[in-house]
């Protein structure tokens, strides 16, 4: 990690708002940080508006929501706990395959219990791998997470008979939602379903982030040595965060399978998923919850638009976006907009 000077570590405020100034302001800030602000309704209003404005693009819409959820799960460990992983697709893939295999091999096609099963399996995998891997940092951790994901892909290919190999499991069918709502060709049901799941899990993540546990994660991100020194159980906290994040990624993967009715080993791909989800998060802004929303939407829409022109354009575009974001908008687009907004207000006041 970057060598952070003591003064940097002292102000462990998240990047969300301007740092508090006086003592009283600081207390007010800390006490009111978790309250809902009016603007937080906006993404949900937009999501519901999208349902009415683009009724024929709802399958794409659900895919966007799935990626938002996936990016949100990564935000918990990358943005808040500061764990850099190149293998988050492992849990996405585990969730996707859990649902796929349950539906195809055991005819367990009830969608919501499928999500629960996927979350459980992914959480177990997250706990097991996290217990081993989270002791490492830096390059070693990067390589270990990357290698584990690739191993899963190879294993999936090895047990071809069971998983379908790279061709995957096509033509999955799922039971109607709540036993009542069947799926239509345009994906209206699946969109609302995905949106509902996203909303519930978002509230959960939001609650975690503003809890003392979430604060401890931010502390670990900012200064591990200090957290050790004040007696914080660093490894346990990281492991808990990693497990939760894995479970959410698993749900995202499960939703992905349910949306597309097919699952292939491509879900473990480094450049399509592990890297893409990181790009989305960084693009929107890590460590600020709504960054996942902005990033995933922008990414998916650009991808949809540019890949139609040429896949090469799209890949170039992603690369360029990343480079530009890192160099000029280090805290993501949301932060950039906020700063531009603040600058404008100042300018208007004068």
């Amino acid at each position: 990690m970057a060598a952070s000077s003591p003064s940097e570590a002292a102000q462990m405020s998240p990047a969300a708002t301007d740092p508090p100034v006086t003592h009283a302001q600081a207390i007010a800030y800390l006490a009111g940080r978790h309250r809902f602000r009016t603007i937080e309704v906006l993404p949900w209003v937009l999501a519901i508006a999208a349902y009415f404005v683009f009724p024929d693009r709802m399958t794409f819409g659900s895919q966007v929501l799935v990626m938002v959820l996936f990016a949100l799960s990564l935000d918990l460990i990358l943005g808040y706990a500061g764990i850099i992983t190149l293998g988050h697709a492992a849990f996405f893939g585990i969730g996707a395959y859990t649902v796929g295999l349950l539906a195809s091999r055991l005819s367990w096609s009830e969608p919501i219990s499928g999500l629960v099963a996927a979350a459980a399996v992914a959480a177990l995998a997250g706990f097991a791998s996290g217990a081993l891997l989270l002791r490492y940092r830096g390059l070693t951790l990067l390589v270990l997470t990357l290698a584990t994901t690739t191993m899963l892909q190879e294993l999936g290919n090895f047990y071809k008979d069971f998983t379908g190999g790279y061709d995957g499991i096509p033509g999955l069918e799922f039971a109607p939602l709540f036993g009542r709502f069947d799926y239509d060709l345009y994906g209206h049901t699946i969109y609302l379903y995905t949106l509902g799941v996203l909303f519930v899990l978002f509230l959960m993540v939001r609650r975690i982030v503003y809890s003392p546990f979430g604060q401890a994660l931010a502390g670990i991100r900012e200064n591990v040595a200090r957290m050790h020194a004040i007696g914080s159980p660093v490894h346990g906290r990281l492991l808990a965060a990693y497990t939760i994040s894995a479970a959410i990624a698993g749900v995202a993967g499960a939703l992905f399978t349910e949306t597309n009715a097919v699952v292939t080993l491509g879900v473990f791909d480094f450049d399509t998923y592990s890297a893409a989800v990181m790009v989305m998060l960084i693009l929107g802004g890590a460590g600020r919850l709504y960054g996942a929303f902005a990033g995933a939407v922008i990414y998916m829409v650009l991808q949809d638009y540019l890949s139609k022109l040429s896949p090469a354009f799209w890949q170039f575009g992603v690369g360029l976006l990343l480079v530009v974001t890192v160099l000029f908008a280090r805290n993501g687009l949301l932060d950039l907009f906020e700063r531009i907004g603040a600058r404008m207000r100042q300018w208007v006041r004068r």
Binding site: M1, A2, L78, I84, L86, L132, R135, Y136, G138, L139, T140, L142, V143, L144, L146, A147, T148, T150, M151, E154, L155, N157, F158, F270, D271, A275, M278, V279, I282, S310, P311, A312, F313, W314, Q315, F316, V318, G319, L320, L321, L322, V323, T325, V326, L327, R330
Partner: protein
């Protein structure tokens, strides 16, 4: 051995300079395509093409180092990862656009094809050639790093950048040179590897995992470690594919993960 040549370049940039460079595979790929173009349509001899490639890619990498990498020497690992993944994506896209997505291969000069009779069995000449190049590189690098003035300065700058600067070593220049050498080696490895692995634009990302494995398993900044890791992983990869064909690449990852779990800093890394 191909793994070694590319990885040692990565070990140079990542280990010595402490920069997580995921665009390294892109430099290797650039080298591969340059060799392809030089030998193919321009008719340059293979050995000359390799040298030209080394020099060209090293020179171009200086441009990247000065404009992009140098800004992020003190940034977090995450920033470095993101920037270099971005560069790798862009490189893949550019090469897909100009060369097409299909795999390419080159025609080797006649003196590098055929077999050598090694007494108990015969070896393809080309593999022997690549191994020879590798051995020459090891010797040169070892000598340059351990026995020359520049090598001593680099080691000083790596150990304590501030101190090195205050006794008058131009660390920026030194790092630029180091980076150029690392990228040049990647390009050389890429050029040599075409015949063994084929070449297509996804090369930059697909083989990146291997290079990272080798560097991490060997230990950052250790030539000895990189060599040992390349040999170990190479042997396990070949043996694994030979013995359990279906399990394919699984073995190499499993071995690498086990080694890293036991020795997080790599075989010869500094803790």
């Amino acid at each position: 051995m191909f793994l070694f040549i590319v990885s040692v370049g990565l070990s140079v940039t990542m280990g010595l300079m402490g920069f997580v460079n995921l665009a390294h595979g892109a430099f290797a790929m650039a080298g591969g395509y340059l060799v392809l173009t030089l030998t193919g349509s321009l008719g340059v001899p293979f050995w000359l093409a390799l040298i030209v490639t080394f020099v060209t890619v090293a020179a171009v990498s200086v441009l990247f180092e000065r404009t992009l990498y140098a800004r992020l020497y003190r940034a977090s690992e995450l920033d470095q990862v993101l920037l270099t993944i971005g560069l790798a994506f862009m490189a893949v896209a550019v090469y897909t656009y100009f060369y097409g997505p299909s795999p390419r291969t080159i025609v080797l000069p006649s003196y590098l094809t055929g077999q050598i009779d090694g007494g108990f069995r015969s070896f393809p000449v080309y593999r022997v050639f690549v191994i020879a190049v590798g051995i020459v590189l090891i010797t040169v690098l070892w000598y340059a790093f351990e026995r020359t003035n520049i090598g001593a300065k680099i080691r000083a700058a790596v150990d304590n950048r501030r101190m090195a600067q205050s006794i008058g070593i131009d660390v920026d220049l030194l790092f630029t040179l180091t980076f150029a050498a690392g990228s040049g080696l990647a390009a050389l490895g890429g050029g040599l590897g075409i015949q063994l692995f084929g070449l297509n634009p996804s090369f930059a990302l697909v083989y990146l995992v291997f290079f990272l494995l080798v560097v991490a398993v060997g230990g950052l900044g250790s030539f000895k470690g990189t060599l040992a890791a390349a040999v170990i992983l190479g042997v396990f990869d070949t043996a694994g594919k030979y013995l359990f064909a279906d399990l394919g690449g699984f073995i190499i990852y499993a071995v690498a993960v086990l080694i890293l779990l036991a020795k997080p800093a790599g075989l010869y890394g500094r803790e």
